[in-house]
Amino acid sequence: AQSVSQHNHHVILSEAASLELGCNYSYGGTVNLFWYVQYPGQHLQLLLKYFSGDPLVKGIKGFEAEFIKSKFSFNLRKPSVQWSDTAEYFCAVSPHQAGTALIFGKGTTLSVSS
């Protein structure tokens, strides 16, 4: 079965620190990859996505992610976090397979102190 692993359950950083959140997936076929963010008490918002082409994708709010196919990874990065980045981050995979939906990792809670 397809699955998504997010290695960091809770990350605590100070403002201006750099961020990298790990994400690995298990599926041998073609996939599209996503990072969603959920601010406290709010709904899911799309941060960025990878469909094809340049494996380094840039999203909103200064986030970027790199798809490394050989490692089945799609790590999220931001050079300098802000207090307003405090949120829950979800990696998700959409396999190119009929009858499948978006599969989420368990999420990483990011806490940024000012």
Binding site: V31, Q97, A101, G107
Partner: protein
């Protein structure tokens, strides 16, 4: 205009009651979903409909019954509510499943069973 809208946003109800959550999308998408986010923030697919036809039905109690009167609407009815049903329920839509399309989420319905 909200692309995926769901009502109610908050719902507090007693055990044993029957309740419904409604969802509508104005994106012209063919596929709609219900996801459940539990107290640990884990997001899991419950159902998916494509053009009013059920295509994904994960292991969900029979007390949960989705209904899609047309492709723009997917409602979720829950019978005999239990404490464990307390969660956030997200409606979502995409162009179709199995092709990796971006999924757009509604703002969530916070269900509390007391």
């Amino acid at each position: 205009d909200t692309a995926v809208s769901q009502t109610p946003k908050y719902l507090v109800t007693q055990m044993g009651n029957d309740k419904s959550i409604k969802c509508e999308q104005n994106l012209g998408h063919d596929t709609m979903y219900w996801y459940k986010q539990d107290s640990k923030k884990f997001l899991k697919i419950m159902f998916s409909y494509n053009n009013k036809e059920l295509i994904i039905n994960e292991t969900v109690p029979n007390r949960f019954s989705p209904k899609s009167p047309d492709k723009a609407h997917l409602n979720l009815h829950i019978n005999s509510l239990e404490l464990g049903d307390s969660a956030v329920y997200f409606c979502a839509s995409s162009q179709e499943t199995g092709s990796g399309n971006t999924i757009y989420f509604g703002e969530g319905s916070w269900l509390t069973v007391v």
